[in-house]
Subunit: 184 residues, 2 copies
Amino acid sequence: MNMRERILLTAASLFESRGIHASGVDTIIAESGIAKATLYKHFPSKNLLIVAYLRDKSDRFYEWLNSRLSSKKANSLDILVELCELVEQWIMTPEFHGLPFHIASVEFPDPTHPINQYSAVLAVELQGYLSKIAAEAGAKDPEALGQQLTILFEGAALVERLSPGIGAAKRAKNAALTLIRASI
Amino acid sequence: MNMRERILLTAASLFESRGIHASGVDTIIAESGIAKATLYKHFPSKNLLIVAYLRDKSDRFYEWLNSRLSSKKANSLDILVELCELVEQWIMTPEFHGLPFHIASVEFPDPTHPINQYSAVLAVELQGYLSKIAAEAGAKDPEALGQQLTILFEGAALVERLSPGIGAAKRAKNAALTLIRASI
DNA sequence: TAACATAAAGACAGGTCTGTTCATTTATTT
DNA sequence: AAATAAATGAACAGACCTGTCTTTATGTTA
């Protein structure tokens, strides 16, 4: 019965299946079975709902990843190998519909728009996260490797979404492994 | 005074700076200085204008690329190296605002929508183009390398667009060169 | 000059969008 | 059981959307 959560879940599902602009507030309230005033009480504007959705999705992703990575010991490329496997899994889950902050940045391309800016923040966050792991793993240039992995994963997410079943995630994983091995 | 071309140019500029959904027909005609009836004569619907825009952008890209690649001789990785340089240049031009079929596929996520389907066609086209060059260059598994390069380039386009000046295109190029060298 | 095609300008219909408001009903808490 | 808080349902405003249509103006060709 948690309203906020119910709204976020419905919004996420709609944003990802129909797009953000194409998901009207009326549709969100109809689909989640709540009143319009309730939505606007929890999220004073649609933009703030979108930002909350982006934050929520990011949190869940890192939570999911951390819970599976923490057991590996540092100073070994094993962490990176494990990371690649997990990202491949993540992309291949049926619920995956592309990186949310990608979708958001494409739908709000104006760099001065708050949603575009927040998307950029989340993108930098992802890059920092991957670079940190690369550093822990002992990569020669962690910053470079982290960014390359980011590019690979974001690209794979896109290609897999646009051409499902083509195996983009697996190919990206193999490319990532090649890059990792070359970065010792 | 070519109306069709003028409409396409204005539409492209608006689609890329504001997004497709956010660029109304009224804005397109106001910006291009033509009458609404003229637009609907050349493009019977906005969807068909979008498709024409996607086709046009793709054509121009391959034209640009081919005119710079044709001089290189085959059966040498030099073609692929040259290709990477060119793609980096392409991404770094100020007019670049992301791959058009990406933007389109994100804004029209429904797989049954004609624009999403056409975007998928263009994505496959790009992959085939890169695989063909990889084959001509003598790569071991041209299909695999072509797809990996696709993923890298599409990822770099996204990251560069979302975080301009971060050097994503260059990093992607270096990653591509590593993959190319590993694919002999 | 006369006939014809093309473009302009703008009103219009029917729909959707975000966000506000208000009276009524349902929950929760003391 | 009484008082407070939260959610509902519905109507509303003002703006924007695509696509059609009509009238007036501008060229172009015979």
